[in-house]
C-alpha cells in the first residue's frame, strides 16, 4: 500500500495512462463517492488498454532479451505458415508484462510470513515474476555456459537448445539459484500467453496466432452464424485495434 493509503491496484492503470485524457468514474481515481438520482456518466469514460510500443527492452537486459527470444523460437518454432515466438513478439510481450503491474505482483497478497506449503496451496514464494525471470535466466545462462563451453543459449544449435530445454522440463538439468523446472514451465506459459493474447500487448503480432487457429478475435456478434453448423467461419480476425480492412484503401 502506498503512503496515501490507497491500494496499489487502484493506481496501476492510472500511472500507465498518465498523459492520456481518459476520465474515470467514481469521482476520480477510484475514490469513494455517493451515487444517487441517476446513472453516472462522463464523455470518453472508460479505461481502454494502452498499446505496447515497439522499442528497446523495458525490463530485460540485452542478453536476457536475446535469450528469451531464442527460447521463444524453440517453444513456438517458426514454420512456413506461421511465424515463431520471436517474430510474433512473444518476448516483447513478456518484457512489457514484467515491466508493468504484473511484474510488480500488483493486486496480489504479498504479505509475510512466506512459508513453503503443499503444491495445492499455491505459489508462496516471495520473489514474484521479475525475480523468477532474472534469477532463472541468469541460472540458465550459467548452466548453458558450463555445459557448452562458454556459449550462450542463443548461440547453440537448435537441437542443442531443444535438448537443454527438454532437460530443464524433465528436471534432469538442475539450475543453481533457481528452480529450473518451475522456471521453464512459467516461461512456456507466458510465451504461449503472449502468442494468443490480443496484439495490443506486444505478442501475436498481426494476429498471426489467431489466423493460425482460425479464431476470429474480438468479434461480438455471431447471430448470423449460430445456426450454421459445421461450416468454416470465413471472416478474418479482428483485434482491439481493428484490422487492416478498417482503413479505407486509397482510390
Amino acid at each position: 500500500m502506498n503512503e496515501k493509503g490507497l491500494l496499489r491496484s487502484e493506481f496501476r492503470r492510472r500511472d500507465l495512462l498518465a498523459g492520456t485524457a481518459v476520465l474515470l468514474l467514481s469521482g476520480g481515481l477510484g475514490r469513494a463517492s455517493t451515487i444517487s438520482g441517476q446513472l453516472p456518466w462522463q464523455p470518453n469514460a472508460g479505461d481502454p488498454p494502452v498499446r505496447v510500443k515497439a522499442g528497446p527492452w523495458l525490463f530485460f537486459s540485452g542478453d536476457e532479451g536475446r535469450a528469451i527470444e531464442a527460447i521463444s523460437d524453440r517453444v513456438i518454432p517458426p514454420d512456413p505458415e506461421t511465424p515463431g515466438g520471436k517474430d510474433s513478439g512473444c518476448a516483447v510481450f513478456i518484457d512489457r508484462q514484467l515491466a508493468g503491474p504484473f511484474g510488480e505482483q500488483d493486486g496480489l497478497y504479498v504479505r509475510p510470513p512466506f512459508q513453503t506449503g503443499m503444491k495445492n496451496q499455491g505459489d508462496q514464494s516471495e520473489g514474484g515474476p521479475r525475480h523468477n525471470y532474472r534469477s532463472g535466466l541468469a541460472a540458465l545462462d550459467k548452466a548453458c555456459k558450463a555445459k557448452y563451453a562458454g556459449k550462450e543459449f542463443a548461440d547453440l544449435s537448435d537441437s542443442d537448445k531443444d535438448k537443454l530445454l527438454g532437460d530443464l522440463e524433465s528436471g534432469e538439468l538442475k539450475l543453481d539459484g533457481a528452480d529450473g523446472k518451475a522456471f521453464f514451465a512459467e516461461v512456456i506459459k507466458d510465451l504461449q500467453m503472449g502468442f494468443f493474447a490480443d496484439p495490443i500487448y506486444g505478442g501475436n503480432r498481426d494476429m498471426v496466432a489467431w489466423k493460425m487457429i482460425g479464431y476470429p478475435g474480438t468479434r461480438y456478434n455471431y447471430l448470423d452464424w449460430v445456426d450454421r453448423h459445421n461450416e468454416r467461419f470465413p471472416l478474418p480476425p479482428v483485434s482491439m485495434t481493428g484490422r487492416a480492412e478498417w482503413t479505407p484503401k486509397a482510390r
Binding site: 446513472l39 474480438t218 461480438y220 456478434n221 447471430l223 479482428v238 484490422r243 478498417w246 479505407p248
Partner: protein, 419 residues
C-alpha cells in the same frame, strides 16, 4: 423572512403578497393571484411547456436560481435568477415587467435581453399565460443568488445593439390560429413556435444568430451537437415516423427508432416527458405537416473504398448493438437505418456520439437509459469517417460522405468541451 416553514411556498407567497389586496378580481384582469390555485397550476404546466428550468436551473442545484451559462456563438450568457427573491430574483418585479421580459425581451431596468432567452418564441403566448407562469414562480422557494448575466465579450456586451437585432428578427404578436387547420394542428403549431420554442435549437441561424426562416426546423448546430431536422422530410426529418412514434419519443425519450441524449435528453427530462398526451400528439401532428427540403441525396456506391472499410468496421465494432441490418433493438439501441439524425447533412451528432459515447435519457416511461461506449481511443479519423459515411449510406439511406478532416476538426473541437 425565512422561517421554519420553508417548505410551504404557498403560505410564504401569501405573506409576501401584502401589496396584492385584490384576489379573484385581479385574476380575471390577468394579474398573478397567490390565492388562485388554478392559475398557479396552469402556470406550472406552462413553465414545463416553456422549459424554464433547462436554462434557469443549474442541474443539481436550486430550482430557477439561475447561474447556468448558456452557450451562444458569441460567448456565454448566464441565465438570471427567476425565483421570487426580492433582491437577486424577480420577486420585486410587477407582472407587467415580468411579461415584458418574457414576451418582448425587455428587462425590468429597460435593458434589452439577448435572444438566448427565446422571447421571440414566447411572444406567441398570451399575457394571461405569462402571468400564470409568474404566479407559479412566486410559489417557488426564493433563493438569494446574484447572477451576473452578461459575460459576453465586446462588442456583444452592448445590449443596445439588440435594437438592431430585434428590428431584423423579432416580431411581436401572439399566435394566430389558422382557420383552415384542425384545432389539434393549431395547438401543435402554437406549442412548437411558442412555449416549447423548438426552433431555438432546430432552426438554423444567420451569422447574427437570428432564425433562417426559410429553413424552419430543418436542423441547426448547437452546443457541439447537431439538432436534427424535425420537419416532415422523410430522409432527414421525421416524416417516416408515425404520430405515435413522435409522441413516444417526446414522452419517453425513446421510441422504436431513436433515443434522446445530450441537450434533447434534458429537454425530454424536464419538459416534454411531462407534457400531456394530447399536447404531444398535437406537436407530432404539426411537425409532420411542416414541409422540409424537397431534394434527395444519392447514396454512395457500396463498393466505394470508404464504404467497404466502413462496412468492415460496422460489422466488427457496431453490429453487436445496432445489429447487422442497422435496425438496432427497439427502445434500446437506435435504428441507424431509420434514424434521421444519422442522415443529417451536418454529421456532428453522429460523429460526436461515436467519438465520445453517449448516455440516452432516463424517464419514468423508459428508465433503462442505455449507454454507448466511446470509440475515440480505438478509431482514427479516417476510420471514424469511414464508418460514419457507411452508416449514412447503407440500408437505403443517403447522406453526404464525411471526411477524415471533418472528423479531425470535430475531435479537436470536442476536446475542449466540458460536457
Amino acid at each position: 423572512m425565512r422561517s421554519a416553514g420553508e417548505g410551504m411556498p404557498l403560505l410564504r407567497a401569501v405573506a409576501c403578497a401584502a401589496a396584492l389586496l385584490f384576489t379573484s378580481a385581479l385574476a380575471v384582469a390577468g394579474e398573478s393571484d397567490p390565492q388562485d390555485f388554478t392559475q398557479i397550476k396552469n402556470g406550472q404546466y406552462l413553465a414545463i411547456l416553456s422549459d424554464c428550468g433547462s436554462c434557469h436551473t443549474v442541474p443539481g442545484q436550486r430550482r430557477f436560481a439561475g447561474g447556468r451559462p448558456i452557450e451562444t456563438p458569441f460567448g456565454n450568457i448566464v441565465a438570471p435568477n427567476i425565483t421570487p427573491d426580492r433582491e437577486t430574483g424577480v420577486g420585486a418585479w410587477t407582472d407587467d415587467e415580468f411579461d415584458a421580459a418574457v414576451r418582448k425581451g425587455v428587462r425590468r431596468d429597460g435593458a434589452l435581453l439577448y435572444p438566448a432567452m427565446p422571447y421571440n418564441a414566447y411572444a406567441k403566448m398570451t399575457r394571461e399565460e405569462v402571468v400564470a407562469i409568474r404566479a407559479y414562480l412566486n410559489t417557488v422557494e426564493p433563493v438569494r443568488h446574484a447572477v451576473v448575466a452578461n459575460t459576453l465579450p465586446f462588442p456583444f456586451d452592448i445590449r443596445t445593439a439588440m435594437r438592431v437585432w430585434d428590428a431584423l428578427y423579432f416580431t411581436e404578436g401572439v399566435y394566430k390560429p389558422d382557420p383552415a387547420k384542425s384545432a389539434e394542428w393549431n395547438r401543435g403549431a402554437y406549442l412548437v413556435s411558442g412555449p416549447a420554442h423548438c426552433g431555438a435549437c432546430h432552426t438554423p441561424k444567420t451569422l447574427l444568430g437570428g432564425d433562417k426562416t426559410a429553413q424552419y426546423l430543418q436542423g441547426s448546430k448547437i452546443q457541439g451537437w447537431f439538432a436534427p431536422d424535425i420537419t416532415g422530410d422523410k430522409a432527414r426529418g421525421i416524416g417516416n415516423w408515425s404520430i405515435a412514434e413522435i409522441a413516444a419519443y417526446l414522452k419517453a425519450g425513446h421510441n422504436q427508432v431513436s433515443a434522446a441524449t445530450g441537450p434533447m435528453g434534458e429537454a425530454v427530462s424536464l419538459s416534454t416527458s411531462r407534457m400531456k398526451d394530447g399536447d404531444l400528439n398535437a406537436i407530432a401532428v404539426y411537425l409532420k405537416s411542416v414541409p422540409g427540403r424537397q431534394d434527395t441525396a444519392r447514396p454512395l456506391p457500396a463498393d466505394d473504398p470508404v464504404m467497404t472499410a466502413g462496412a468492415a468496421i460496422y460489422r466488427d465494432a457496431c453490429s453487436a448493438c445496432h445489429m447487422l441490418d442497422g435496425r438496432g433493438i427497439s427502445e434500446l439501441f437506435p435504428s441507424l437505418a431509420a434514424s434521421s439524425n444519422v442522415r443529417s447533412d451536418d454529421p456532428a451528432t453522429l460523429t460526436r456520439v461515436v467519438l465520445r459515447g453517449a448516455r440516452s435519457v432516463a424517464t419514468a416511461a423508459e428508465p433503462t437509459s442505455p449507454g454507448m461506449p466511446s470509440y475515440a481511443w480505438q478509431l482514427d479519423d479516417a476510420q471514424v469517417a469511414a464508418v460514419v459515411t457507411y452508416i449514412r449510406n447503407a440500408w437505403g439511406s443517403a447522406a453526404p460522405a464525411v471526411s477524415a478532416q471533418d472528423v479531425a476538426r470535430e475531435r479537436s473541437q470536442l476536446a475542449s468541451r466540458p460536457d
